[in-house]
């Protein structure tokens, strides 16, 4: 039988036809368009076959709810942590296993407990408590312990405000900038971080929040446990280990993604990590990190993309690294850096 004798049922059985519908390529597109030109009377059969292929579906669709999804992910990640790669040495892998087992077991209990104790509405009750505010200037980082034992590492130019004692039903802190939180578990009192656009509710333990004023993008990245993030319009995202949420304030989107641990939380150990970042953004980060002002000439292309990783390096070394790949010329002053493109300056 030839294509010109085909009915729609023949077409949907034909591998080459199906390929065209499901994986169109230059080649099959050309063939079928050409064939249709020569067989215009077959247009109807072709359309019908295409429609049929696209319309076949399950009569019953089943979906796991968000809670089951997160619970399973937790179990799988925990199982993975208990099964490290075989090629690690035996003694080392054993100690890793015990370490992870205790940590993970603990985390699981905490997260389940927080779930069970999740009350419908718990409004913070206003009480006259002294508020404490900590602020880090550019170039500085600060480690602090909150009254409940929660450990916070503040990145530069960040601020956190918290009560001297957490007396309310919820542990609420106000915050902007970037910080790594290692929250003291307390299923009775949820830990809540309020930033300009996000409310982050902690169900597990440690995670990173990045929400500088004026930033177009806010991020929460979870390294352990569970975190619930609530946007301004009430949309909620439940995050578990290895997941992050990215709030884009311009596009007003909130989406889930994965993250690179060094990229997002490396700063707390003194690591600067740039992956395909525009130079303009690299310089802004360096300004905050080293408390310098960076000036550059018009011909420096701030949109050029840069990648690099620096652990506890001086500004001098980092700039040397950047100039090595970009050809830019840096002059470092006391509190400022001047950057030129390194090309001949025109007389104009």
């Amino acid at each position: 039988m030839q294509y010109k004798d085909f009915t729609h049922l023949d077409f949907i059985q034909d591998q080459y036809f199906l390929d065209w519908v499901q994986n169109p390529s230059m080649e099959n597109e050309r063939f079928w368009q050409d064939w249709l030109m020569h067989n215009p009377d077959k247009e109807k059969e072709i359309q019908l076959a295409k429609a049929l292929i696209g319309s076949i579906t399950y009569s019953k669709h089943y979906e796991l709810d968000e809670r089951a999804l997160v619970e399973m992910n937790e179990n799988i990640v925990r199982f993975n942590n208990n099964h490290p790669q075989e090629n690690t040495s035996k003694g080392r892998s054993r100690s890793m296993i015990t370490r992870y087992t205790t940590a993970a077991g603990f985390l699981l209990i905490v997260s389940l407990a927080s779930w069970l104790n999740w009350p419908a509405a718990m409004q913070p009750i206003a009480e006259p408590v002294e508020m404490v505010t900590k602020f880090t200037p550019a170039g500085a980082k600060m480690k602090l312990v909150l009254p409940d034992g929660t450990r916070v590492i503040l990145n530069s130019q960040s601020s956190i405000t918290y009560p001297e004692q957490f007396v309310n039903q919820e542990r609420v802190v106000h915050f902007y900038g970037e910080a790594f939180f290692d929250v003291q578990p307390d299923p009775e009192k949820p830990f809540i971080i309020l930033t300009e656009n996000l409310e982050t509710r902690v169900l597990g333990t440690s995670f990173n929040v990045s929400a500088y004023p004026g930033d177009k993008v806010n991020k929460v990245a979870v390294s352990h446990g569970m975190v619930k993030v609530i946007g301004q319009t009430g949309e909620q995202v439940l995050l578990s280990q290895n997941e992050m949420v990215i709030l884009n304030l311009e596009k007003e989107t909130i989406r889930r993604g994965l993250f690179n641990m060094i990229e997002e939380t490396g700063w707390k150990d003194g690591t600067l990590y740039f992956r395909d970042v525009p130079l303009g953004e690299v310089f802004l980060t360096l300004e905050k990190w080293f408390d310098v002002e960076i000036h550059c000439t018009e011909d420096v292309r701030l949109t050029d993309i840069y990648s690099g990783q620096y652990s506890n390096e001086s500004l001098d070394n980092i700039l040397k690294g950047i100039s090595y790949t970009s050809g830019l010329v840096f002059t470092i002053g006391e509190k400022n850096v001047n950057i030129t493109s390194g090309k001949e300056v025109s007389t104009k």
Partner: protein, 206 residues
């Protein structure tokens, strides 16, 4: 000289699409599997997120919620345990479907043996539906024709309906279909589909 404190409009536009944002998972799929084999736990979570709903929907055609959830978890545990030996996996989705199907059916058999008077296997799984797709010529596919074909599809056997859905909806190839449904030879998959189509024709002609 200009200072960087206030980036110009065009610059801030670029900064707002900062590549700091992790690229979407889909974009990274090709090497996810290798990353997972290399022990990257983010890749494991990404794989899980990518396939869990598809797996769940497929599994639920056979069995009830609790069984499917347990089996999916076991499939991922197996992946982790055997990750070094999975070098030859070509289509991750087909592989995961095959693993899940195997586990679910094994579990169903076990349960049926234990409690022979209780029916655990779901009846009427793999129901076929035809959704209306927007296409240029509305007259081509009239509702009557859709209904007729839908009814015909649902008169096929369980296995034929499963094959139809895996082939057309899940977009598996004959080779992958062979793996998932444990048919042994590719020719068996072809025959299964061919029989399904023959039955469809027969039903439609009457």
């Amino acid at each position: 000289m200009k200072t960087l404190r206030q980036p110009s409009k065009s610059e801030s536009a670029i900064i707002s699409q900062s590549p700091y944002l992790h690229k979407s998972l889909q974009g990274e799929l090709p090497d996810l599997w290798e990353k997972f084999q290399g022990g990257n736990s983010s890749a494991l979570t990404a794989l899980y997120r990518q396939y869990v709903q598809q797996l769940y929907n497929y599994g639920r055609q056979f069995a009830e919620h609790a069984i499917v959830q347990d089996c999916i978890q076991d499939v991922f545990y197996d992946l982790i345990r055997k990750r070094e030996n999975l070098k030859s996996v070509q289509n991750v989705k087909a592989f995961l479907f095959a693993c899940l199907r195997h586990r679910v059916i094994k579990q169903l058999k076990k349960l049926e043996k234990q409690q022979s008077n209780v029916l655990v296997r779901l009846r009427g799984g793999f129901g076929v539906d035809l959704v209306e797709v927007p296409f240029e010529d509305r007259e081509v596919m009239v509702q009557e024709e859709i209904d007729k074909l839908k009814a015909a599809c649902n008169q096929l056997t369980d296995r034929q309906r499963e094959a139809v859905l895996l082939y057309y909806y899940e977009k598996l190839s004959y080779k992958e279909l062979t793996t998932v449904m444990q048919l042994g030879k590719i020719s068996s998959a072809r025959i299964l589909m061919h029989r399904a189509m023959q039955s469809l024709r027969k039903i439609l002609c009457h």
